[in-house]
Assembly symmetry: C2
Homo-oligomer: 332 residues x 2
């Protein structure tokens, strides 16, 4: 059994005979963004457990009354030192919930506060490429699949693991697929007054993270992740021939929503400012069709980093080092 | 008993002996925005039912597996003809869920598709001022309070109703309180490249609606509703002395989150571009302190309409009539 599966097994083993009826997925920023597709996955498979996604500080302040010994709380923080997420773990544990912490650092504060830790990897943290099967998304899906075996009698863990192990080549291929498109769009987006990302379903989290943690945080663009259907209930009124939008067209049943928004954009915006990535362009032959929709956002998000670096070069604003507040000022 | 309470009673009466374990709050755009504080309310009071908020088309596509005869689905559409919301009602009913439709028009398509209808009022639909106790927010809270009696044995309906009946004077007062501030800020915001709204907890929905359905939809501003804590995990990097932000400081336990963001903005942005509305400035003496946090977003949102009209006048872009796609083009 791969190390990750061992860790998943050990983490869920701590639940012993607890009957879990509610799951809370709790984090901040980029780590919160992966929780959205996690909820999509659990909502689609489980009739036994509810699933809530909470920003960590909102979670602690809101004090959801259902939180208790029948709750599983999965928390995620890259460094394991995100103050709000560590606080949320303390809070949930005091309420009797079973807490699993996902982090790069198994010795971090988060790791100290939870019932069980599962380590994941991130390429940007180490500077070395990782295998997608070791990423935060992968670990989260594996935890939720492991939970399904207990709560719903559904056993998809091995099948999911084998899809995750075949994911990295699909990501590598995607970089080739989108390379020329990114090259063409970067100069068009470089001076945009705002860049929107548009998605639905499992891809929405990737759009959220790209807008807030990449475009805003690292390139200072005004931005928003727009839900593909909510688009038609307000946001679409900003669309004109200057509007820049990144559209993530997934493989799940919300695909129809995003296709509709894309058709609108193709009609009313300038096509050279609509950068769309379609899951049908990806090499997913080795992935179980059942799980492909949940793995698509990993591929899109990983691919879009390359686009961000192209923007950064053109704007002469380095990605991580260009931030002016985060990790520069500590007293806020 | 006031008419609204009669309607609430009749709508929930249809549940008969059903044991409800999950609530789905389903709508689009502005009607979806009120569902967020609805979830805050239910999460805070109920240990018996889970609560999900879904865009209507996302709901139908995602097919949450827990949806079934133990589910209560509350749907909202002003006209009652929002295609996606009507579709969601059909879908949920076919799954055996009990559906309540909130709409201005009890003869609309939505009304035809649900088990029970509760009518609400909106001033912009009639052109006449309404009493806040008849608004969409009020009806939603009353429905949820009525549900709590059944699911959790908590009886707060009468107390909530009496607070709602005392709400309108607080709204009228707020208009006076904020009048000069809006007058001063409108010229500063008029030419902004983007306007952000920032909030947490029950106020987040009002921020979402103001950003997407007012600033984007009716005044074509680039915008985003930023969650007060998520702000520190990415979005705050856009802040400089040109950044325009509307900050909604609530009365609930997420107040601390918003105060923290406001302190940051006061330090790194231009104070004449940070328009903050603080619930402590409101006249809430007649409102039960327990419910005040949930009524604050109604007051903020109603107040902020006046600010939007000031922007509209300065920009020479009429509010409703200025839209270029919504209700102008019908084939998207």
């Amino acid at each position: 059994m791969p190390k990750t599966l061992n860790d998943i097994d050990a983490a869920l083993g701590g639940l012993s005979a607890r009957a879990i009826t509610s799951v809370f997925l709790v984090a901040c920023g980029g780590s919160l963004s992966i929780m959205h597709p996690g909820k999509c996955f659990l909502d689609a498979y489980s009739s036994a457990v509810s699933c809530d996604v909470f920003n960590a500080d909102e979670f602690v302040s809101r004090k959801p009354k259902r939180l208790g010994p029948s709750s599983l709380v999965i928390l995620c923080s890259q460094t394991g030192n995100t103050r709000e997420t560590v606080g949320a773990a303390k809070y949930a544990k005091a309420k009797g919930a079973y807490c699993i912490g996902m982090t790069l650092d198994p010795k971090s504060s988060l790791a100290q506060e939870v019932n069980a830790v599962v380590q994941y990897k991130a390429s940007y943290a180490t500077g070395f490429p990782i295998d997608a099967a070791d990423s935060n998304y992968a670990v989260l899906y594996l935890l939720l699949a492991g939970l399904l075996r207990r709560t719903d009698g559904i056993d998809c863990l091995a099948k999911l693991m084998s899809s995750l192990e075949r994911l990295q080549p699909a990501i590598d291929n995607a970089h080739l697929t989108f390379k020329d498109r990114f090259e063409a769009y970067a100069p068009r987006f470089q001076g945009a007054s705002a860049i929107y990302t548009l998605a639905a379903g499992p891809c929405y989290g990737a759009a959220y993270s790209y807008s807030t943690c990449v475009l805003m945080e690292m390139q200072r663009f005004d931005s928003q992740a727009i839900h593909a259907n909510e688009f038609f209930h307000g946001p679409f009124e900003v669309v004109d021939d200057k509007t820049c939008v990144i559209v993530l067209v997934g493989l799940d049943d919300t695909r129809r929503l995003t296709e509709r928004a894309l058709r609108f954009l193709e009609r009313f915006a300038s096509n050279d400012r609509i950068l769309s990535l379609d899951a049908k362009e990806l090499s997913l032959e080795e992935i179980e069709p059942e799980f492909a929709p949940y793995l698509v956002p990993l591929i899109f998000f990983d691919s879009l980093w390359k686009f961000a670096y192209k923007l950064a070069a053109l704007r002469n604003l380095p990605m991580l080092e260009g931030r002016r507040y985060m990790k520069k000022i500590n007293d806020y």
